[in-house]
């Protein structure tokens, strides 16, 4: 295959990636977009087997069929055997951590490619190539180890709270400085050992960087690491002289950056605060000292009665619903109410759950009809005509402090205004606050009823009580 044809097919794959991102940005075309992306990636992969790409170092001869062809195909097979079942079998509630993991391995792959190319180039590498290699190794390793930590946090293999150790910020700053220092060393002195030290330090930095991030900020970090990995791919494209990798990597880097900002905005977080939490975080006390004021708690029967006589009910799902995996049960409850002639809608806050749009995915998995999912801006004006708002494992996204308490962590975040509903029911396990660690006045509101317990078992009880009525 001629270089021109090879390049043209690469450009076509790049165009496919643009169309993929474009498609993924609109609900109607999202699935097609993803398929176009997969097609582009497949095309680019197949084509590389038919082109003997000249080594940048000029040392290794490339000819068709490729050297090490058997090994290459074998490695791809291993990747398929690991990747496909993982992607197929994962439960939707665990999807965020899988995405984190996939991102991490991508970053790791980019770092490895850079290292190999560096070994291969040896002393012939130009300064620009070495600089890009250093960049790829640092960022790829950070992305790899950082993603592993986010995976462990989300999978609850470790605490989801920010991990802050004494003098942590100095350790992190020192690590960062040594990463930069060793990077400079590699550029000036060349050599394999410095590069491996650089990789090790970068891996360490990735760990330290993500440890202080709280569980709920993790999606922002994943998105950021994703953008980082994109940039490493672009840098590899420079070293390997591949327009495709440059375009694809830059696309992901740019769109990932925007996406990170959109996510942070949607949850009212400052991107800066999230990222440099490492440097500024204080050991925070959010054990949630329960207030002494009285609350009105009820039984599943009380809830069922309230629901039974309502004309309109809005269900507000949150983080806790995902934790309890109660999406199927909530759907059962909704169906039951609908069969009783009650008007039911789900009020979806953009950042409810563990990742933006997470609620939509979870509820879609439970086959909740799309038209019952109402976005925040549309559902808010309707709470005035709502008899019961039933808040399931959500807290921050309905907390009026976002509007009334300047200076509190969620101040300014738009909320679901359930306080306008005639009755509010909270399903949660305790009086503990939500992710942001702040009291929710609504829990003490006279029109609020609390139903304590795991969301799933509470809902099951409510369903049977409602059926019995």
């Amino acid at each position: 295959m001629s270089r021109t044809l090879y390049d043209l097919i690469g450009l076509a794959a790049g165009i496919a990636f643009i169309l993929a991102l474009k498609g993924l940005s609109h609900p109607k075309t999202a699935r097609k977009g993803n398929l176009i992306g997969a097609f582009g990636a497949g095309l680019a992969t197949v084509v590389v087997f038919f082109y003997a790409s000249p080594s940048v170092s000029g040392k290794a001869e490339s000819s068709l069929p490729l050297n090490n062809l058997g090994w290459i195909l074998g490695a791809i097979a291993v990747g398929l055997i690991i990747g496909v079942p993982a992607a197929r079998r994962v439960q939707m509630t665990q999807m965020p951590q899988l995405v984190a993991l996939f991102n991490g391995v991508g970053g790791g792959a980019a770092a490895l490619v850079a290292i190999v190319e560096y070994l291969n180039l040896g002393l012939e590498a130009t300064t620009a190539q070495v600089v890009f290699t250093v960049f790829t190794v640092i960022v790829g390793c950070v992305s790899f180890s950082g993603s592993i930590i986010t995976f462990m946090k989300l999978q609850e293999l470790m605490t989801t709270r920010p991990v802050i150790f004494p003098a942590g910020r100095f350790v992190i700053a020192a690590t960062l400085l040594s990463v930069i220092g060793v990077g400079g060393w590699v550029v000036s002195a060349l050599g394999t050992t410095p590069l491996l030290i650089l990789a090790a330090l970068s891996l360490l930095f990735g760990v330290l960087f993500v440890l202080p991030v709280g569980g709920a900020d993790v999606p922002i970090v994943i998105s950021l690491l994703n953008a980082f990995t994109g940039l490493t791919v672009a840098a590899s494209g420079y070293v390997l002289d591949s327009v495709l990798l440059i375009i694809a990597g830059t696309l992901v880097g740019a769109s990932g950056t925007i996406l990170t900002r959109l996510m942070a905005d949607a949850m009212g977080r400052s991107l800066f605060g999230t990222l440099f939490g490492a440097f500024t975080a204080k050991q925070q006390d959010s054990s949630g000292v329960a207030d002494d004021r009285p609350v009105r708690s009820g039984s599943p029967d009380d809830v069922a009665i309230l629901l039974n006589y309502a004309r309109r009910v809005v269900i507000v799902p949150g983080f806790g619903l995902a934790v309890a995996q109660a999406q199927h049960t909530v759907r059962e409850l909704a169906d039951l109410m609908i069969s009783k002639g009650i008007d039911v809608a789900y009020g979806i806050h953009p950042v409810a759950g563990r990742m933006p749009g997470h609620m939509n995915v979870l509820l879609a998995e439970a086959n909740v009809p799309y038209d019952q999912l109402v976005e925040m801006d549309e559902v808010n004006p309707t709470f005035g005509q709502t008899d019961v708002a039933i808040v399931i494992g959500a807290n921050d996204v309905v907390n009026p402090a976002a509007k009334t308490t300047p200076g509190c962590p969620i101040y300014g975040m738009p909320i679901l205004e359930v306080s306008n509903a005639a009755n509010i029911i909270f399903l949660k396990r305790s009086m503990r606050p939500g992710f942001a660690g702040i009291e929710n006045e609504l829990l003490y509101d006279p029109k609020t009823m609390l139903l304590f317990g795991d969301a799933k078992s509470s809902l099951t009880k409510v369903v049977s009580a409602l059926k019995a009525l």
């Binding site: 609109h26 999807m95 995405v99 086959n367």
Partner: protein, 93 residues
């Protein structure tokens, strides 16, 4: 390809990346992130190229590891994104 061309391609790709996703609704944040994630799995191409060029066992070993990881990233990413999006499908009108 000269540095100027690469810089231009980079800059333009940044704009395309920005523009293309800048209006996405929050419902699609997660699938979009996952899809973009799968796209950078195309580093697989780079991994295959360096495996082809590998001269020592160390190089070959590292590049095969890169191939495994990149394949997981790419194929797993597209599959999981498709699964997420599939759930929306049946329900729209």
């Amino acid at each position: 390809m000269d540095a100027m061309a690469i810089l231009s391609i980079f800059v333009l790709s940044v704009f395309v990346g920005f523009e293309v996703v800048s209006k996405v609704s929050s419902t699609l944040h997660t699938p979009l992130m996952s899809g973009a994630n799968a796209i950078h799995g195309v580093i697989l191409v780079g991994a295959i190229i360096v495996a082809d060029h590998s001269e020592t066992n160390l190089e070959l070993g590292l590049s095969l590891a890169a191939i495994v990881l990149a394949t997981i990233n790419m194929v797993g990413g597209f599959v999981v994104t498709d699964r997420m999006l599939e759930m929306f499908k049946g329900q729209k009108k």
